[in-house]
Symmetry: C2
Subunit: 277 residues, 2 copies
């Protein structure tokens, strides 16, 4: 990048009283509406005192030039700290406070204006459930253990490298669901039946598919030049997997163009799974 290009980047600050996850997520969603522009992003989490807010202001205001006005996205809920941040010469985008008044009015209740820890441990029962869900997903990854498979909330089924593992981890970590995943290997396609371990659990199963091209590419990265990675083999396995899902009324999605976040949202909606996290 040239100096000229660098100087055209708009500095963006995500400031929060907690982890900054919400500020960053929503801020990035807004920035994505300006695909022609480039940004330099900086997250400043755990801003909990007025002094810290002043030091944030120093940084933000120092990034101000004649050509660019930095953007300060804030989810700070503390009244005093917000007022301090508002004094910036940059653009203050209050993702939080501006909506709090509306919610207060609708609910006829005053907000506490406390610094909340949404991404904190919070309800420890629910938090422990998420932690146990991760453990369950680790133990039941790729058919590693079949013990207590019936205790799973969901069993992801798919040929190798269709995205079972990351999707399982995401559902466990974010939603506290006990997700097992079970690999379909070529021998499983010798019969039209479901593989024995998951046969009595069809109603918990959700299938993943991919496109032959994408699957072949992903497998090729792992085992270059193998039969396993050929387009013909991938195409065969995907066709047979799809037929298996259809025969046993297992819902499925194609993971080739979906992120784990999108797959998780679709799976939860389709399987009507509660959000336990």
């Amino acid at each position: 990048m040239t100096v000229a290009e660098e100087s055209m980047r708009t500095p963006v600050f995500f400031v929060a009283g907690g982890t900054g996850i919400s500020a960053e997520t929503l801020g990035n969603l807004l920035l994505a509406q300006f695909p022609g522009l480039t940004f330099t992003r900086r997250k400043i989490p755990f801003v909990t005192t007025v002094d810290q807010a002043r030091s944030v202001l120093d940084q933000v205001d120092a990034a101000m030039t004649d050509a660019v006005t930095p953007l300060l996205f804030s989810t700070v809920s503390d009244e005093e700290i917000r007022q301090e941040l508002q004094r910036t010469r940059a653009a203050f985008i209050d993702l939080f406070g501006s909506h709090l008044d509306t919610v207060e009015r609708v609910l006829h209740v005053n907000a506490t204006h406390n610094t909340t820890a949404l991404h904190g441990v919070g309800d420890t029962v629910r938090y422990d459930q998420r932690m146990r869900a991760i453990e369950f997903a680790m133990e039941h990854d790729d058919g590693a253990s079949l013990r207590n498979l019936e205790q799973s909330d969901l069993i992801l089924v798919a040929p190798s490298r269709c995205g079972k593992t990351p999707t399982s981890m995401y559902l466990a970590l974010q939603h506290g669901l006990k997700v097992a995943n079970y690999p379909l290997v070529p021998e499983d396609f010798d019969s039209a039946d479901l593989p024995r371990p998951i046969r009595p659990l069809a109603e918990k199963c959700f299938g993943l598919l991919s496109t032959p091209a994408r699957l072949s590419q992903v497998r090729g990265e792992r085992r270059p030049g193998s039969t396993y990675a050929t387009l013909a083999q991938c195409s065969y396995e995907l066709r047979r997997a799809e037929a298996m899902y259809r025969a046993h009324r297992i819902p499925s999605i194609n993971s080739a163009k979906m992120s784990v976040e999108e797959m998780a949202a679709v799976i939860m909606q389709s399987s009507r799974l509660p959000d336990l996290g």
Copy 2:
């Protein structure tokens, strides 16, 4: 819950064009400011047509009673769909559009107003990096493999059950970091040295600690009545681990009262790790 209590719950809808992750996160952050109230939450993701918006309105308006006004949190960016949702008789809280004008003004550029897929695959290079990071974290969980340990961005070190695994998974999944984790077992405390496999990699290490009470509780759930779970054993291991971190200048945090999200934010800030996801 009694019928009377149930009727006092305020219905909350999180509506989005994508996965609804941002709407839900920020909406819940706002609701957390009203700890005395109870809510029933419903997420409606992937609203991408005006027809779908109408069906959302039907659901939201049906939840309206003389006593409660539902809250509709929206991150929908499509102009037409937003206008449709705005027609609700419930409270419309536009987490997105209300800030878009500000950002447009500051940037002197018009927003695309496209339905963006922030939680989509997006930049496939970065997405593939996240997926590879999960794979790396799975392979290097709990010292399972020491192969390519030097390729890790971070090595979490801690006695058993201090939260290494979920924190590793979170950092890999959300931030695309290659995180290995290495368990400190009692024998490691016979020497003041770091365990051999991580000895040359001290600058990549980050230590986790807990409180003896919390660690004993968590271990007791796994192995009730074991020496491993006694307060004395937990206290010993934590004391020795802390001394080891100090001796080798390994930064550390106490996981007892922190969520994985908070730990991840602190670790990234402290180790100055870039957000690769």
